[in-house]
Assembly symmetry: C2
Homo-oligomer: 167 residues x 2
């Protein structure tokens, strides 16, 4: 009797601890929200090394209507230049986070306001954008980082007679 109880205990304990406990979506959402708050600040302040560190080494960032930035170094290099051109003010708001094992998806809404500075390339005007995004987060070495960032603008395409993106 005692033996079978020990056995049962062992089986139950192995079941509990044998399976990697998944973090809850709420826990991951909380972390993502905190990273988003920092990202917004870091983009605005031009702290691009900090921004880059939130992305995986093999990350894909896909800015709307541009070629994607493939890899953390490409992202770092693009944004180090871009922050010289002016101020990038984002808002990021996670709407839905789903977690499965070591990946998590984040669907959210964004806005962006770009204000050119004295070093902006000729012809680069102020612009604003707004839309939705889907991010893939991946946990590697216990750290969640963005592996794919897919923001989709919901502004209609400008036409020759009305260019809605330019302020």
């Amino acid at each position: 009797m005692k033996e079978s109880r020990t056995l049962l205990c062992l089986v139950v304990l192995t079941f509990i601890f044998g399976c990697q406990p998944s973090p809850t979506a709420d826990e991951v959402k909380k972390f993502i929200n905190s990273q988003n708050t920092k990202l917004v600040q870091w983009y605005a302040e031009g702290l691009i090394d900090s921004v880059a560190n939130v992305f995986t080494e093999d990350t894909w960032q896909m800015p709307p209507n541009s070629k994607p930035l493939v890899g953390r170094e490409a992202l770092r290099s693009f944004w180090k230049q871009a922050v010289q051109w002016g101020k990038w003010e984002f808002t990021l708001s996670a709407q839905s986070v789903e977690v499965g094992g070591s990946i998590a998806s984040e669907r959210g809404t964004f806005t962006l306001t770009f204000t050119p500075g004295p070093n902006a390339p000729q012809g680069m005007s102020a612009f604003a954008d707004t839309g939705n995004y889907l991010c893939l987060w991946r946990k590697q070495n216990r750290v969640w980082r963005i592996a794919v960032d897919a923001p989709v603008s919901e502004l209609p395409l400008p036409t020759p007679t009305s260019d809605s993106r330019k302020k």
Copy 2:
């Protein structure tokens, strides 16, 4: 000796069968590829009920430079109208699939060619698009469906002097 071996066996078996075996990324990628082949065909043929059935009830489809389609019924309703306007020819190519529990992410490339028909709204011209996408697939009741579809155009925004999207 015999008893401890039985115990060890039980512990190992509990570990193996206690954890839900995750489908491999390869298996899911194979399924996604087969769904993409069908989707492309269904969009081109205007079989929108079949298209809609690949998406979850609470799906978000975010066409570039448009408001998102929220929910399977919104998607169905939009596309049933859109296929009256002309022919939508997509290519979809999954580049990377990651699976965690009951979610999977698919990063891929797409192209789209729209050819207006006699019922196209006035002023709706032929256009082509190309870019990258990130999809969230979710397994519900043993079926994988698209919960979020975020295609990002990589074509530069048209400007008043060069409208690159219009053929």
